[in-house]
């Protein structure tokens, strides 16, 4: 039992349960209502799972990037690129020879995501550009590239198969959920049953030591940013399938903050080191629950953004040792007694 509470996933999980309960109470039980229509489940919780899976997928990739002490803020633009490519192919605007084959379109979009990630990896691992700057280049340029692919238009498509990526159901549950679960399982296999996870953590804590301990720092960074690109592309596909087209201006706009927020709430230090993908997924669900609830109450979405930014700052402050010491000092000064030192 004691072991359970010490797990990194424990705290965020409690927070998630608490938030869901609070939301449930405030909404007077509506929140938990799940109805079955034509064999599909409907309800607020299902919505959260469906919409939250995008964040969960992103957060899974972002966690590792932040784990190395880096970051990837280009995810939103990569989403836009992936959406633009997939929709343009399905629409037959580019690569008309494929006759709008959805499967190939998805594959090419994912490949494009990987390519974007590889570019980030090249800048960060090879050229040693700060991850922030490197991914910022793709953040701004990427949206431009997406616009150029879509020729500055909003591409709308009609393809049942493509819609299903977001709106479809398997066993009565939304498809994006299964994609998210699949991604998370794959990432867990990668980080837990190989030594990749611990190597990423070592790089995040101390790249110099890691190199001398025989860890291929550069190669691992490449892999991580490519994975980040692929997850972003996946999220982009889900989003564009959701709106039945590619809107390069708004697809994934400012989503990088949600990704970082999910990871930070999950408890991974933004300075690198220990990370937990499950924690971040829980973090993503927390973010989605908050958003959905606020939205349901009719609060302007703009305020959500402000609130999210404030939460990130607060989480950062809580993670900051210097801040905690200062707070402690003030508290000691007020109470006039010493607290037990943290072990």
């Amino acid at each position: 039992m004691k072991k359970l509470t010490q797990k990194m996933e424990f705290k965020p999980f409690c927070v998630l349960v608490a938030i869901i309960l609070i939301c449930g109470v405030i909404s007077g039980g509506d929140f938990f209502k799940i109805t079955i229509v034509e064999g599909h489940f409907y309800g607020r919780l299902i919505d959260i799972l469906r919409n939250g899976s995008r964040y969960a997928i992103l957060a899974a990739g972002m966690t590792m990037a932040l784990g190395t002490g880096g970051t990837d803020i280009s995810v939103g633009s990569v989403m836009a690129i992936a959406g633009a490519i997939a929709c343009s192919i399905v629409d037959g605007r580019i690569l008309g020879g494929l006759n709008g084959n959805v499967f190939v379109a998805v594959l090419i979009a994912l490949l494009a995501g990987a390519l974007c990630g590889a570019w980030n990896g090249f800048m960060i691992a090879k050229l040693k550009v700060q991850p922030m700057v490197a991914t910022m280049i793709l953040l701004t340029a990427g949206r431009g590239i997406a616009q150029l692919i879509a020729d500055g238009k909003i591409v709308t498509i009609t393809s049942e198969a493509y819609y299903n990526i977001s709106g479809g159901y398997i066993l009565g549950l939304p498809v994006p959920m299964f994609i998210a679960v699949g991604v998370v399982i794959l990432f867990l296999l990668l980080t837990r049953s190989t030594a990749f996870g611990i190597q990423v953590e070592a790089i995040g804590v101390n790249p110099g030591s890691s190199r001398l301990a025989g860890i291929k720092v550069e190669r691992n960074l490449w892999i991580i940013y490519i994975l980040c690109g692929i997850t972003a592309a996946l999220a982009g596909l889900i989003e564009s399938a959701g709106i039945k087209g590619a809107d390069c201006n708004n697809c994934g706009l400012m989503i990088e903050m949600d990704g970082i927020l999910a990871v930070a709430i999950g408890g991974t230090s933004l300075a690198g080191g220990r990370f937990s993908i499950i924690s971040s997924v829980i973090g993503a669900l927390i973010v989605q629950t908050i958003s959905t609830t606020i939205y349901a109450f009719g609060v302007a979405p703009e305020l959500t953004r402000v609130a999210k930014a404030v939460i990130v700052i607060v989480v950062c402050l809580i993670q900051s040792q210097a801040f905690l010491t200062q707070v402690k000092k003030i508290r000691i000064g007020k109470a006039g007694k010493k607290e037990a030192p943290a072990v």
Binding site: S193, T194, A195, F196, I198, Q199, E201, A202, V205, N206, G208, S209, S210, R211, L212, A213, G214, I215, K216, G273, R274
Partner: protein, 500 residues
Amino acid sequence: MENTILRMEHIYKEYPGVKALNDVAFSLRAGEIHALLGENGAGKSTLIKVLTGVESKNAGTIEMDGKEISPKRPVDAQNAGISTVYQEVNLCPDLSVAENVFIGRELRKGMRIDWKRIHEKTRELLKDFGLSINVEERLDNYSVAVQQMIAIARAVDVKAKVLILDEPTSSLSAQEVKRLFDIMRMLRERGMGIIFVTHFLDQVYEVSDRITVLRNGTYIGTYDADKLPMIELVGKMIGKDYESLEAIPKLSGDRENVEELLRIENGTTGAITDISLSIGRGEVTGFSGLLGSGRSETARLIFGADRMTSGRTVMEGKEESIRNPLDAILHDIAFCPEDRKKEGIVGDLTIRENIVIALQSKRGVLHKISRKEADEIAERLIKELAIKTPSADQKIKNLSGGNQQKVLLARWLATDPKLLILDEPTRGIDVGAKAEIQKIVVELAKKGMSCVFISSELEEMERCCSKMFVLRNKKIVGELYGEEISQSAIMRLIAGEENV
């Protein structure tokens, strides 16, 4: 009480797990050169750091001119009249020479900095030091020795009453050292009090008036230099510990009958050129030389930490290509780097993870070491090396320096290496741990493992090594075997007097 300007009393400083300073006292008169001596880890640097406000003391008083001061930042110490030249040059490489001398107390003309006068002043000032260089040039276009002189020039020019020189001579040539001593004497005439930290004992006798000795964080005593023979001084620095260390049985160095394990031919990296050497099986090979002599760079070359741009590595008779640390690990080479914090430990990970991390790299990322096996390895090595920790789950950054070093040793022993390279493994750790590490090294060599041992402490090198390469100016200038290895022989080679 004759014109004492600085008095430190009952100074205590504790780091997690180490008592760095334990009731230390120190006083400095105006117009004297006062040497502060002690072995590595004796507490010299800590005392300096406390005095200059880089670290804060746990207890004790510091008085300047009879007034108590408690510097919290370097700037406080400077304002109190204490000026410092640190061992590693602490200047800004991107700024110009003149600026490095004057930044923080610029000459002004009205509101603006008067660059013209600063340049002139710097030129004059550096002339005193025998340097005629372009003061408008970026600092990092000059050698470390020149940078060191510039750092001293900066410190001297501040209207300081106390000047601290922390190992100022470690990267200077004999001629430059002489010039530095002239300057020190000149400053003494002007009434400045100088604290001189060094481990070159003959230099101490050349310029110092008084000597204070620290050992293992405690104050041993203050003596007049001309009344303390060198042999007695060494005794005071090393103390009783000397006997406990003496117990290490020495390996017999043998010039002929040693099987070669590894050979470097004309190895060149960005830092050193054309190094050739051979390391025998079951030997403890020392790399001796001053800071910056190329001893660490040579070790890094062998391990592939710095990439070899040309040259050959031959291991057990076969030519091997070692381009990066992983290659080296796969070839059974292990390396404990000099900078334990930056390149050794992975602070936030546990001891267990730190121990198996290199073995994991050796096995490959896909073959994860199971938790059970990792536990076994960690338990075994913690016991074998007597690492003091409540459990293998502790974060390594919470251990003391000595225990961290042992964990690093454990990390490499877990990979079962044929060649173990240790760069300053005993720096900054307490004497007990030091002796243990030395003992471990010699015992490993007896079991057939080859070791490369690097240390600034000649006495330690003399004790452990069966073969020694001496380096000066990035070149190997001498090889010593077995009985030939003595401190004086090494020192002669370092000083460049092979023919004496």
